[in-house]
């Protein structure tokens, strides 16, 4: 069971991610990114981090990407023009891909902990909201408050940055 879910979700995620990077239309890219984020959330579920999956969908896919799309619509960004193929770039990217495919699995499995297998129900972490919340508000309360400040600062920053000059 675990395998089916993992492999399908993994392939989906990678495909969507590749699509984000490759497509020329920014709207298409944004939509593909949403898809990727949802796949990611599903992967969180396979890792028994349910609350985080929900947060991912609501905040990341729901709020952040909507913001992206708002801006794309606002700016009316056109499709990116085709550029002539630069062979050196192709070769470099190809080489990078080959290295990645060869190297990353090796790297990932080189850690001693990488042999641990996934068996649902035997994880020692609980992804429940209650447990996460306890941890968040008790041990990491200061950081949580700071995050609040951060969001406030971001809000103010956005307002300031997008102000038009007085007089225009």
């Amino acid at each position: 069971m675990e395998q089916i879910f993992f492999w399908s979700l993994a392939i989906g995620l990678l495909t969507a991610a590749t699509a984000v990077v490759v497509l020329r239309n920014p709207v298409s890219s944004a939509v593909c990114l949403v898809v990727a984020l949802v796949f990611q959330a599903a992967l969180f579920v396979t890792l028994e981090a349910n609350f985080l999956a929900a947060v991912q969908v609501i905040v990341y896919a729901g709020a952040v990407m909507v913001l992206f799309l708002f801006v794309i619509m606002l700016l009316d960004v056109k499709e990116e023009a085709r550029r002539p193929m630069v062979w050196s770039k192709v070769v470099a990217v190809g080489a990078g891909v080959v290295v990645a495919i060869l190297g990353i699995p090796r790297l990932a499995t080189s850690f001693p902990a990488s042999q641990k297998t996934l068996v649902w129900g035997q994880g020692k972490t609980s992804g429940a909201a209650q447990d996460l919340g306890t941890l968040l508000f008790a041990s990491y309360a200061p950081l949580f408050l700071l995050t609040g400040v951060l969001l406030l600062v971001a809000t103010i920053g956005v307002v300031v940055l997008c102000r038009r000059d007085p007089g225009t």
């Binding site: 395998q3 990678l14 991610a17 590749t18 984000v20 990077v21 920014p26 890219s29 990114l33 990727a36 984020l37 990611q40 992967l43 969180f44 890792l47 981090a49 985080l52 991912q56 905040v59 990341y60 952040v64 913001l67 992206f68 801006v71 606002l74 700016l75 960004v77 990116e80 550029r83 990217v93 990353i104 699995p105 790297l107 990932a108 499995t109 850690f111 902990a113 990488s114 042999q115 641990k116 297998t117 996934l118 994880g123 020692k124 972490t125 996460l132 941890l135 968040l136 041990s139 990491y140 950081l143 995050t147 951060l150 969001l151 971001a154 809000t155 920053g157 956005v158 940055l161 997008c162």
Partner: protein, 104 residues
């Protein structure tokens, strides 16, 4: 081997691939918007790795870390897009090549 059990290594490899894809997008795309989206991919790759390790090693704190990462990412996207809009008003384009005035 890869097709027997799912191990932590699988999740880490997946995270690595995702990271590389995001990296490619950051370095190779011309439009600033796509670059920012690729940045999101990078962050997601990190999140995936964090959760995976936390699950397999029994560390619930990593999930708190992911929580914070998502929050900060949201703030970062907001600010980034605000800057993008401000630049777009001047340059009328989102191409990164045209935003290279800070040079020698």
């Amino acid at each position: 081997m890869i097709f027997s059990e799912i191990t932590l290594g699988h999740y880490l490899a997946l995270s690595g691939f995702l990271f590389i894809i995001g990296l490619a997008g950051v370095l190779l795309r011309r439009s600033l918007l796509i670059v920012m989206m690729s940045l999101e991919l990078l962050l997601n790759a990190a999140n995936l790795a964090l959760v995976a390790v936390g699950r397999f090693q029994g560390l619930p704190d990593t999930q708190v870390a992911v929580f914070f990462v998502i929050t900060v990412a949201a703030a970062e996207v907001a600010i980034g897009l605000a800057i993008l809009v401000a630049i777009f008003r001047v340059k009328k384009t989102t191409a990164i090549d045209s935003m290279s005035s800070l040079r020698f």
